[in-house]
């Protein structure tokens, strides 16, 4: 490693302690080790533990009724959150990019807030608003409705923590689009809907999809806000990550690791999809 790099005609006269090539290798090696030890090793341990008791045991753990109910709930609420924030996020991006509004910067800052607010705190916020001791919670209870410790609370928490994803995916693409095209379409007699459908939507679609996939992936993995707001009732409001926590605390790491395999598979499938969509959105630009 201490061997000097082959000298090139334009090799600088002064040499650092390490030659460029050795330094490059050293950087690459230490960073590769850091990521392997910090990320790959624990996840390998997780996959190994999930399969260690044999595929039959893993399948039994995954198909246990409470596990299936938790996975279904996570996927179902994730789909709802993805659809709602897919639509709302696109609308928010459109408002932020296209219109000159008083308070536009405040709106933009608010959209970023869920990136900074701890997810557990997002859950606490919803409890402070809808919890049983609050006026709203009491009023809802009178009508046999509940947000806190119920499914609506789960969806609200997911919408809260995933709000920025679609907005931030769509915003840059929308920036690059020429409003003149929309104006031209309108001038040529296209209605608002036709303009939206044929001029605005097609170039935005990959970005909207990338953001929506991100919302779903995050929703399925979400833990902190749901630990606070969902009430964690098996078969009703217990989502998959909280189920995994229960299995860990109940002394069944094998079952916890097996159910984790499902979530890991979802994450590993969706991340490249979201990246590919984001690249497609980017290539539409410019």
């Amino acid at each position: 490693m201490s061997a000097a790099a082959p000298s090139t005609p334009e090799a600088p006269a002064r040499r650092a302690v390490l030659s460029d090539r050795a330094a490059a290798l050293l950087l690459r090696g230490s960073f590769g080790t850091y990521v392997t030890v910090l990320v790959a090793l624990p996840l390998l341990a997780l996959v190994y533990r999930g399969l260690a008791d044999g595929p039959a045991a893993a399948w039994a753990a995954i198909t246990a009724p409470a596990a299936v109910a938790a996975l279904k709930l996570s996927i179902g609420t994730g789909v709802v959150a993805a659809l709602v924030n897919g639509l709302a996020g696109t609308a928010i991006a459109w408002v932020l990019v296209r219109w000159d509004l008083p308070g536009r910067r405040l709106l933009s800052a608010l959209v970023d807030l869920p990136l900074a607010i701890p997810t557990l705190v997002a859950g606490i916020l919803l409890i402070a608003l809808f919890g049983p001791q609050t006026a709203i919670g009491a009023a809802l209870a009178e009508h046999d409705l509940a947000v806190a410790y119920a499914r609506p609370g789960i969806v609200l928490a997911l919408l809260f923590v995933t709000l920025p994803f679609v907005v931030r995916a769509v915003e840059p693409v929308l920036h690059e689009l020429d409003p003149a095209e929309e104006e031209a379409a309108t001038t040529l007699g296209a209605g608002r809907w036709l303009t939206f459908r044929y001029v605005l939507l097609p170039p935005l679609l990959p970005a909207v999809a990338a953001g929506t996939v991100q919302v779903f992936a995050r929703s399925v993995a979400e833990f902190g806000s749901l630990a606070a707001v969902s009430g964690n009732i098996p078969f009703q409001t217990l989502t998959a990550p909280v189920y995994i926590l229960g299995e860990v605390e109940g002394g069944s790491p094998g079952s916890a690791a097996a159910v984790s395999l499902v979530l890991l598979a979802v994450a590993l499938a969706l991340q490249p999809l979201s990246h590919a969509l984001a690249r497609a959105a980017g290539s539409r630009r410019g």
Binding site: P12, L38, P42, W99, L115, A116, L120, L159, P241, A257
Partner: protein, 273 residues
């Protein structure tokens, strides 16, 4: 700012969308924030005494310390990793690139479990660590590892974006003029990274202060030892001490808002250039 091209006052039906968007963001984010603020203000002396209790202060201090450690470790790893991933081409680069993003995709509970399988009882690294008397799970090192894991991508990604944007022409010029790789890095590359470093640091600190699932599972939330600000809230809720929970939650929410304010979104202004 106001002269941004193509931006005009909304007309006609656009107002409906603007109103709907305002209601959505206001209802989803602002109203719950106001509800928490109101609940805290209703019992300010109670919240104040709950937050100045030794356990609360220690939990908050621990979270701040964890954020600082993550910032340093992932600052170094982020600059190194961003340079490696954007400036070098080698076998396995794409795998490494994908691994860096995994902490964002994995549920925090699974992170905690994965590290327990390494460091817990009968963990993979038990035979190595036990004879040395090193305790990771349910101890401070576990909290550090969990927090560093979940914050790994932030610095790196923001720095990599800047590195890709600025290209290598300045660095090439410097080394042609005789600067060593080290001099080029300190005098040319690093100063250019300021924007990415700021944004990445903010996201890292925010995420470290707010990390909950992984530190709960790996740290165990032991009062006075591995209890962070978030697990403090969790424990307080379980014990129905809403005063403490709400108080600490508002402190963390305020810290998040302050971080965003400090940042003032340089990414947006640079995008508009």
């Amino acid at each position: 700012m106001a002269s941004a091209p193509g931006r005009s006052r909304p007309v006609g039906a656009a107002w409906l969308v603007v109103a709907a968007v305002t209601l959505y963001v206001g209802g989803l984010l602002v109203v719950p924030l106001l509800a928490l603020t109101r609940a805290v203000l209703a019992d300010l002396p109670g919240v104040a005494s709950a937050l100045t209790a030794a356990d609360a202060l220690r939990a908050l201090g621990l979270s701040v310390a964890l954020a600082a450690v993550s910032l340093v470790l992932n600052g170094v790893a982020g600059v190194t990793g961003a340079l490696v991933l954007t400036r070098q081409r080698f076998l396995g680069r794409r795998l490494l690139d994908a691994l860096v993003d995994l902490p964002l995709a994995v549920s925090p509970v699974m992170t905690g479990l994965a590290f327990l399988l390494l460091f817990g009882r009968n963990g993979w690294l038990g035979p190595v660590l036990q004879p040395l008397g090193i305790k990771v799970a349910f101890a401070l090192p576990g909290l550090v590892i969990a927090t560093v894991f979940v914050t790994l991508p932030f610095m790196l990604r923001e720095i990599a974006l800047v590195l890709e944007e600025i290209g290598t022409s300045e660095e090439d010029a410097a080394s042609t003029l005789g600067a060593s790789a080290w001099q080029t890095f300190w005098l040319v590359t690093l100063p250019n990274l300021r924007e990415g470093l700021t944004l990445g640091a903010t996201l890292t600190v925010a995420r470290a202060l707010g990390e909950f699932g992984a530190v709960l599972v790996l740290g165990g939330a032991i009062t006075g030892r591995t209890d962070t600000a978030t697990t403090f809230i969790h424990n307080a809720m379980e014990e129905r001490h809403t005063t403490s929970a709400y108080g600490m939650a508002l402190v963390l929410a305020a810290a998040a808002a302050a971080l965003l304010f400090l940042l003032q979104r340089p990414s947006q202004t640079s995008r508009g250039k």
